[in-house]
């Protein structure tokens, strides 16, 4: 249970800070004495946080499902032929900077949340896909042969043996993907998605450091909270499926 303590504290801090930001007006006044408004007010921070999290959540769900399904497909007999191609895309795709992905999405999908989502899904898919392949290919062939040779159906081999064994690495891929996408979603503000990046962009445009700080602090806190959430997940996973890693 202790593993969940730190994510709970961080999430509470994040929501608390969103609500309590106006109370910090004197502090930001001191940071930015020459501006009248020092607290970003176009949208509430809670709304921006919510929107930001939704974008990341939706893209992570779609990305995970697609990437894991794809990874499974190309490691089956029927999909083997595509394995080299897919592995290549998974590793080359990640050398693209996120901004470029966003910029490319606009002419295709237009402004707003839509293109951001598309970019997040495409970009977030790659680390998950790569890790799914690494995880599935890393399984000791003797283990797979034993499972099959002793009478498991292909589905049973996948669900009872392969996924539990590869799951830890896939989970690490999802963690990377989500972490990157929290940052990428913030940049989505430049193309009209409403996220915690908004105050940052507004602050930069108007020369208001206070706004920039507010956005940046919240994004940072969100990233930390998410990361510790994954940490807790991974610990729990280890206890369940990876006796070696858990030191059982």
């Amino acid at each position: 249970m202790r593993v969940w303590l730190s994510p709970i504290v961080l999430i509470t801090a994040l929501i608390g800070l969103c609500l309590a930001m106006p109370l910090l007006e004197p502090v930001f006044q001191w940071v930015q004495p020459d501006k009248q408004s020092v607290i970003y007010q176009r949208e509430s921070f809670l709304f921006l946080l919510q929107n930001h999290v939704m974008l990341v959540l939706i893209s992570a769900t779609i990305g995970t499902l697609t990437a894991v399904a794809g990874g499974i497909f190309v490691t089956r007999k029927a999909g083997r032929d595509f394995l080299p191609l897919v592995s290549q895309i998974a590793s080359i795709g990640q050398t693209f900077p996120p901004v470029a992905v966003l910029a490319l999405a606009v002419p295709v999908v237009g402004f707003g949340e839509g293109p951001t989502l598309v970019a997040l899904v495409l970009y977030g898919l790659l680390p998950i896909l790569r890790n799914t392949l690494v995880g599935l290919n890393g399984i000791n062939p003797a283990v797979r042969e034993a499972a099959q040779g002793m009478g498991m159906s292909p589905l049973q081999v996948l669900v009872r043996v392969e996924l539990p064994l590869a799951g830890r690495i896939i989970l690490a891929g999802i963690r990377t993907s989500v972490t990157i996408n929290i940052a990428t979603a913030a940049i989505g503000s430049t193309i009209g998605a409403r996220t915690l990046g908004d105050p940052v962009i507004a602050g930069l445009v108007n020369g208001n450091t206070a706004y920039v700080l507010q956005g940046a602090i919240l994004i940072g806190l969100l990233a930390l909270a998410t990361d510790s959430l994954f940490e807790a997940f991974e610990r729990t996973w280890d206890q369940r499926f990876s006796p070696q890693a858990a030191g059982a």
Binding site: N140, A142, V143, E145, A146, A147, Q148, G149, M150, G151, M152, S153, Q156, V161, P164, L165, F241, S242, P243, Q244, A248
Partner: protein, 315 residues
């Protein structure tokens, strides 16, 4: 009964198994022996259909395996794999209970069976049931691999170098255990090894393989006495044959029995009825004895073995 008729398996240009004919009778232990890459594992994998055969016929109890459901076929064939292949995320108990679980045995029956097998293989159930494979030594892991194959009481056992990569002592212990289990349960067994001594000890019949073909298929004694070719002769060790033949026969065969078993004198040492003649010779040479006492498993002296008789009739 397992019958292979003119079975061939090709991998691209390589012919891994080349028109082999092999019949393994029910209850028999057939040992496939030969050097690395000669097609032993491939033969085994064709029997449980992990690899399809390129041509020929494989029948189990008269039925063509290609007409059977692959999973059903495998569920009735215990498989011990080269390099154990235990599931690292499962406890020892769950590993062993895997096939019974697939067969949907009730929980209590599986637990009881796991307990029974751990005891049979000399692993304390209390200690090992809840351990994970990485906590086991190599020898313990191999035992668990054997237990897993035996779990659902299959009629057929396929064992691919189950005792490979073990030290000589552990290996010998496991071989003895296997002989003991085989006496109890009599499974039709195909056993792969490249260790000729292991083959001689365990087999009812040995199939010597070379480059995908079966060179000779015969009892251990005949393989030693009448090797079919130079290859087989070299494999069994030309000069070593006398001792190896002695290794096949138990002391009981040549001992002079007492009329009634006698209680042993305290501190008396000697041989067991089940020990090999080879061991008997070694003991006599080392201790420079003209004869040794022979004991049964209850520790009673049942006879003596003299050096003279051993030299005359040993090989």
């Amino acid at each position: 009964m397992i019958e292979l008729k003119s079975v061939t398996r090709r991998f691209g240009n390589i012919t891994a198994v080349d028109h082999i004919d092999l019949t393994i009778e029910t209850g028999e232990v057939c040992v496939l022996v030969g050097s690395s890459g000669c097609g032993k594992s491939t033969t085994l994998r064709m029997i449980n259909r992990l690899l399809p055969h390129s041509s020929g016929d494989i029948r189990v109890d008269g039925e063509d395996i290609n007409d059977m459901d692959a999973q059903k076929l495998r569920l009735n064939m215990g498989y011990v794999i080269q390099g154990t292949g235990l599931f690292p995320h499962w406890t020892v108990a769950r590993n062993i209970g895997m096939v019974p679980d697939l067969l949907k045995w009730p929980r209590e029956k599986i637990d009881a069976r796991v307990h029974e097998l751990l005891t049979l293989l000399d692993l304390d159930p209390q200690t090992y049931s809840n351990q994970y494979p990485h906590q086991l030594s190599g020898g313990q892991a191999q035992r668990v691999g054997v237990a897993r194959a035996l779990a659902a009481d299959p009629n057929i056992l396929l064992m691919d170098e189950p005792f490979g990569a073990l030290d000589a002592i552990t290996r010998e212990n496991l071989q003895l255990e296997m002989l003991r289990i085989q006496r109890q349960v009599r499974k039709t067994t195909v056993f792969v090894t490249h260790d000729i001594d292991e083959a001689l000890r365990l087999a009812t019949r040995i199939a010597v393989m070379d480059q995908g073909r079966i060179i000779q298929h015969d009892t251990p004694e005949n393989i030693l006495r009448r090797p079919a070719s130079d290859f087989v002769e070299n494999l069994v060790g030309k000069q070593d044959r006398g001792l190896k033949l002695m290794g096949l026969r138990p002391v009981r065969d040549l001992m002079t029995p007492h009329e009634l078993p006698r209680p042993a004198e305290p501190g008396a040492d000697g041989l067991n009825e089940e020990d090999s003649l080879r061991l008997a010779l070694s003991v006599m040479l080392w201790q420079d004895l003209p004869q040794v006492a022979v004991f049964n498993t209850n520790g009673e002296e049942t006879g003596v073995l003299s050096r003279e008789i051993l030299m005359q009739g040993g090989a």
